[in-house]
């Protein structure tokens, strides 16, 4: 992220929330099996376009307002989905995700406070649009899991809960569900850039790793 926060406190908080979310991902990957088979394949090691990231994360952010919109809207959208899991019928999700909600509370407080300071509408509207796309269509898998009781909320309820949390209505959005990618849960094509993809795979860090004993012996 080639972006600086307006203060050291904000920088520290942003980094800490990022670490929280990485931890949440690890927990989630370990307990989502009851909701369906893992859709990830080996292509995720070589093809950035196979990653299930929202378009919002395709390019590195350049403005603090982009971070605030993601923190306030997208992170809270994630939180309401976790609420739907915790209050659904899947026992492992009920138990293992509860702590996540406690940690996400501080993300919400951070996002809401910065949102009150006023940010540009561009990133905000985009975050709302992508949150609604991520919840899915009225007849998609989220709706099915809601009907089955595994999630306590479907797309409409998730959107309503997000609006309730943010104390505002979502801006006018139009989603072409026929063009929507049901696997990547996004309405537009694209992928993260090669440099970020390399960082995610640990390739960037390898540049700074000390040479191995074998390499040393060869030289």
């Amino acid at each position: 992220m080639s972006l600086r926060a307006p203060s050291l406190e904000a920088d520290i908080a942003a980094a800490a929330m990022g670490l929280d979310d990485l931890g949440h991902s690890r927990v989630l990957y370990g307990c989502l099996e009851p909701l369906g088979a893992d859709p990830r394949g080996t292509e995720r090691e070589s093809d950035a376009a196979s990653l299930r990231n929202l378009p919002y994360f395709d390019e590195p952010w350049t403005e603090w307002s982009q971070f605030v919109a993601a923190n306030a809207i997208l992170d809270t959208a994630f939180t309401v989905m976790i609420e739907a899991c915790v209050n659904g019928s899947v026992e492992v999700l009920q138990h293992r995700l509860r702590k996540m909600l406690m940690e996400e509370r501080y993300h919400f407080l951070h996002g809401r406070s910065w949102l009150r300071s006023g940010i540009e509408t561009g990133p905000l509207n985009r975050a709302w649009q992508e949150a609604i796309e991520w919840f899915g269509p009225p007849d998609g898998d989220t709706a099915r899991l809601h009907r089955e009781g595994k999630l306590s909320m479907g797309p409409a309820e998730l959107r309503g809960r997000l609006e309730e949390q943010m104390e505002t209505k979502a801006p006018q959005t139009e989603v072409d569900w026929k063009q929507w990618d049901a696997v990547r849960r996004r309405g537009r094509k694209g992928a993260i850039d090669a440099h970020t993809f390399g960082m995610l795979r640990g390739l960037e860090e390898k540049k700074y790793a000390p040479p191995t004993a074998a390499k040393q012996a060869a030289t």
Binding site: I12, A15, A16
Partner: protein
């Protein structure tokens, strides 16, 4: 980023208190500057969470009533 100040609104200093066990008293672990209690809580948690605190609290610095301070007679 020029449109953003260090904090939004008027900055307020909050003292951060915490303790690791129920049997020890709360003690001051640091301070944060934020425009409101929401952000101060988020900053305090992010900045001072290196220990396994069983309790953390923040207090507006201006709400602390001093009986005396260093240098007072």
């Amino acid at each position: 980023m020029s449109g953003y100040k260090r904090v939004s609104g008027d900055a307020v200093e909050y003292e951060v208190f915490a303790r690791k066990t129920r049997v020890e008293p709360l003690h001051q672990v640091g301070s944060v500057v934020a425009p409101d209690a929401d952000l101060a809580m988020a900053y305090a948690r992010a900045t001072y969470d290196e220990e396994r605190w069983c309790e953390m609290a923040i207090v507006r610095k201006e709400d602390v009533i001093h009986l005396w301070s260093p240098g007072d007679a």
